[in-house]
Symmetry: C3
Subunit: 272 residues, 3 copies
């Protein structure tokens, strides 16, 4: 019988055997677990993007889910691997900022350094800890191991990041593009506060704002509730499905039309 | 214990978290279900292609399978979501033509409008009904909910489409390319009638036909039973694995060599 | 209850319905099996690459795993399909060399010709044996069928290939690039003998070697243990996670910078 879910997020892509081997190591230790792919298409070594994707996903999984997040440019070096428990979830990731948005939301997680070699594969390579450390540890966790068995408790604060807040009384807020999705939607790190945890909530104050893209100076004035409401070929703001502000174009790619991508700076400002 | 299969077909791609989150919502409601991806690589908002893919797939799944098909340009608008039951299968899709080929084959499906909000997520976003409506409803269906509980029965006929028939006595048939696969094979909507449900069946009359591509006027004369039989670098007709006529090139991409894609019109005509 | 794992390796890609349909046929016969994708991104009809991927993966799966490998340019022709059992694993593949590296490692496998039509789908197409033969047979194997029931035992030796050995006493070894991974790492067929089955093992003698790329005459002199140790933008040798020699660039694609790909010849030679 399935005893739980392990969710995977990596930059391994799907053309190699890397993801399949990670799954084989997990299943060898926890044969009845459900493995769910969040994504393996994170841009190679893009920690910020991975941070957004795990944050936007975790809250929809049932309690008890174990998240294995491997975007790990420091693999084989002395960077730390951490296991964090909070809100009923368990997260396994390199200590490189990948969990910063999750830690901005989960209060007082228990965090452990992952150092107990007996839960790793016998021969740990220098270049594939996703298989030799993360997958093996995840398999043990999925079959009941307590995170506290993995190593010492970390008591210092792990870096966290909150999204740029915007509310009815703000005049201006600076932010950036943190992800471009398959449809070319530009996901920003700007979070209308009233929408927290309520993605269907109306945000009437947002129609008084425009957004300017830094590198091209382009200003976008319109806000629509759905893609269907918007005219063709004209970029607009929309409250995205994660509760963050997005810039979109109906039936097209905002990223391609506006010529911008992840990291781009933006400014939201009141029109009146 | 696994209690059934939910099969997914979307245009969400695999680089974002969208598919993973859909699965998390399903598994939160039906922990022991098997989730099978048909494809998430449908071209953004290409309803015709999605219609072909679900039609070519559904009959190989065991009875009881629930198909969740989300190619949904009208998301957040007043377009209807439908749940159709027939031949032992259940289909969940926007009412936008996505199921037209399935409805061309399944006689008298029971169709319901999906309106009962108690089976949706609590906060329904305007832009991600795949998660907030489709996945949640699929989770309830997979754990035993009857389709009739989802909303009112729809009694008017839902649009269906049959493939362009060709048989030994036809002189000419007009059709179109409905899909280009990974190998560059051009799948047409022309269905030699004798092959229905019998993809291994021989179709001797087809060798009397040629196919002409509309935009380039190119004519293809040869028919082969297997890729191996064909010469290199010469486009030919082949009876595809779904029982539809395909245009292929051995060890190459017919789409690239012929310079055509989905939507292209074709004419089959008798040579003699 | 899950009764085992079926691992899939194909060149079908993920944009079509092909992989989903293969899974549906397996699950119709073995409802509780875990299906794991090794990769479906093998370059179309690239048997050598598929051979590397299954070899690099199989040993991490638990005993009893059934590997279904379909890279099959000869589909529909008289090429043989084989089922091999050894080291507790079962492999199903066309008899086209796909399993050559596996057979280089597994001693005395039992090999059977897959000919018993009663384990195939009723209507076998000429172009999709992945569905009609491989998936159906895999479903029967996963639900307990013995490989010996599939057809006659093959007693002649099936072609195998060992990797190019390099040890402390060698002066020179010739090899080739067999795979380029998502990160642009060039995986060679050169295997430092001391590392067999021990990917974390140190290989001090390797620092006395340089590698030359045949077509560009480019020589790479440096060896690093991890990506993190290496300087930016300078190609280097690294012992890859499968125990084969790789050529990499930190924070970049060695394939792109060096302009080489699969099939490229290389020479390893002692510097002193």
């Amino acid at each position: 019988m399935k005893t739980g879910i392990v969710a995977l997020l990596t930059d391994f892509g799907l053309s190699d055997h890397y993801v399949g081997v990670v799954k084989s190591v997990i299943l060898a230790r926890a044969p009845h677990v459900q493995i769910v792919d969040i994504s393996h298409g994170v841009s190679p070594q893009n920690i910020d993007q991975a941070g957004y994707l795990v944050w936007a996903s975790y809250k929809y999984f049932p309690e008890g889910t174990i998240f294995v997040c491997v975007v790990d440019p420091g693999v084989g070096s002395h960077r730390r691997i951490i296991c964090a428990a909070g809100h009923g979830y368990v997260f396994l990731a390199p200590d490189n900022g990948l969990l910063k948005y999750v830690f901005g939301e989960i209060k007082h997680p228990e965090v452990y350094a992952v150092t107990e070699k007996k839960y790793f594969l016998k021969n740990v390579s220098k270049t594939f800890h996703g298989r030799d450390v993360f997958a093996s540890v995840a398999g043990f966790l999925a079959s009941g191991l307590e995170p506290s068995k993995l190593g010492k408790r970390i008591t210092e604060r792990i870096p966290s990041e909150r999204f740029a807040a915007i509310g009815p009384t703000r005049k201006e807020v600076k932010g950036r593009i943190i992800h471009v999705d398959r449809f070319g939607n530009l996901i920003t790190n700007v979070q209308p506060r009233i929408t927290q945890g309520r993605p269907g909530k109306r945000i009437p104050f947002l129609k008084h704002f425009s957004v300017q893209i830094y590198s091209t100076q382009k200003i976008i004035n319109h806000l629509y509730a759905t893609y269907d409401d918007a005219p063709d070929n004209d970029p607009f703001m929309v409250l995205g499905s994660s509760g963050l502000l997005e810039i979109s174009i109906k039936s097209g790619s905002a990223a391609a039309v506006l010529g911008v991508g992840p990291g781009e700076r933006i400014t939201l400002f009141r029109k009146d």
